[in-house]
């Protein structure tokens, strides 16, 4: 068990070693997107929009961007990057000649996106904080939600990686699954029970629950109630998606 964890951690170390070689290029999309969303929607569009649920549009939108960063970083990691490791770089082939086994590779991928999700959510929150867009006291809780969103959306990436026939097909997954999850996360407009089907639909979106959690932490509002509602839902979704990703990707690795 301890050795299994050690080996998962080595997979993470490997990915970090490669990632940091190109740190700026690799992290730019995750970090620049929220900044430009803040400028364009928050400052720009926000000036024409009335208050949302009692706060300015800019303050309303800010926490969601932090949660959304976890989705973007983890989905892109486990789709494009994992696809390259699987099909072009021979990363997994090499690992399988070492004591690392298939399970450790998969758990390593998910641990890596958990950390990336947590870290990106925290960084974005921090940047938003510098602009005065968040309440600081519960910022420490934000990475918990970021990690879970990271694993859930990383799992979606892994499932996509097992299914796509070529790398271009990831764009389809992005357009018809990831983008809707992102835009219907409760980040850009509040989603309430009264809205009918949208409300029921987003219950199966990990980012919706993640956004609600980060919002409650960074607005410092109904933290206990939201944690009790959204953490269990997010954990269930994360384990569910993780389970399917594990099953699918295991089959894939058995054939490399």
């Amino acid at each position: 068990m301890l050795e299994t964890f050690r080996l998962c951690w080595k997979v993470v170390e490997h990915h970090w070693m490669v990632y940091r070689k190109n740190l700026f290029a690799n992290s730019s999309i995750t970090i620049s997107d929220p900044i430009f969303f803040t400028l364009a929607f928050g400052f720009g569009l926000g000036a024409y929009v009335q208050d949302v649920d009692g706060r300015s549009y800019l303050l309303f939108m800010a926490p969601g961007l932090a949660a959304g960063a976890a989705l973007l970083t983890s989905f892109f990691e486990c789709s494009y990057n994992t696809y390259f490791r699987l099909n072009f770089d021979g990363t997994f082939k090499a690992m399988l000649t070492s004591p690392i086994g298939i399970s450790e590779i998969i758990f390593g991928e998910l641990l890596w996106v958990a950390l990336k999700g947590a870290f990106m959510t925290l960084i974005i929150s921090f940047v938003l904080g510098i602009f005065g867009l968040i309440q600081w006291p519960f910022i420490w809780a934000v990475p918990l939600a970021g990690a879970l969103v990271g694993v859930a959306c990383g799992a979606i990436g892994l499932i996509a990686t097992t299914r796509v026939k070529n790398i271009d097909q990831f764009q389809v997954v992005y357009s018809f699954l990831i983008a809707p999850i992102y835009f219907l996360s409760g980040m850009f407009f509040p989603i309430h029970a009264g809205q009918g089907w949208i409300f029921w639909l987003v219950q199966i979106s990990p980012l919706y629950h993640g956004t609600r959690l980060v919002q409650s932490f960074l607005w410092q509002e109904d933290i206990l109630k939201n944690s009790l509602m959204h953490f269990p839902a997010l954990i269930v979704l994360t384990f569910g998606l993780g389970f399917f990703a594990y099953k699918g990707f295991k089959k894939k690795l058995q054939l490399i």
Partner: protein, 317 residues
Amino acid sequence: MRLGFDSKIMEKVVSAESLSLRYGSFTAVNQVSLEIQQGDCFGLLGPNGAGKSTFIRLLYGARLRDEGSLFVLGKDPEVSPRELKKKLGVVPQENCLDDNLTVEENLRIFGAYHGLYGEAFRARVIELLRFMSLEAKSTARVKQLSGGMQRRLTFVRALLHRPEFLILDEPTTGLDPAVRQLLWEKVHELNREGVTILLTTHYMEEAQKLCRNVAIMNEGRIASEGRPTELIEKHVPGFVAIFDRKSLGDKVSETELKKRSDLSYTLEPIQILLRASNLETLMGLAKEWGSEPLMIRPSNLEDVFLKIAGKDLDKYA
């Protein structure tokens, strides 16, 4: 004190019995039984797609068998792959190095997989880089290295943890003659130091130079097995005469050749290879055709290979 049968098991580095693996309806490895003794340098020969790489992947647990039993270094790769892979090194067909990392970083991360760190490990890295004449390249990025250097680095990577058993999947394919010579020398040296080696190749020269025992694999089965000289003696004793096919024109008919029991042949697009156990048979035929052979030489492993696996090559002709 060791029990007798225990050490007997350990003498066999690989012990496979009726091993089979199927991909859907395609049988990649078909009822393979094979033993490799400790200290051996064993060559697995066969054409592309014969099942060599799949067989090798079974050995370190990267594939799961459908049938049969398999023990490598006394362990079943499906039951305890991790313990097994601590004692076994693999040079895969593709290098699978991290292009953006340096030589030293590639080795450091792979050492970490094996739990190797610190002074002793750094000394080991330097020793191996020197062994493979790569010491000047330790800070270079892999993508800056030539193909031959990358291959040598892959060897270093496979040797970091001092494996007892080294698996080389087509170790010198696509390399220039100088690098091949160097690698052969190193393989020989490792084998002399007691490392058991299994290599796959379709260079018969390589097999004949390095391997004490070989098995020829074709369509997932072991077609023949033994010492290279034994295989030559068994399948193609004697000599080979090579004729220029063009200059013979239609003096040669395949139906005629088929009838002869004293020789075997391979029709290549530009050459005809005739094999016979005695020289007179070949000379007689040359006289009959009124054509000098381009060359007459003692038969070698390549002829065994062509005789056994070459039939399928006709499909592509």
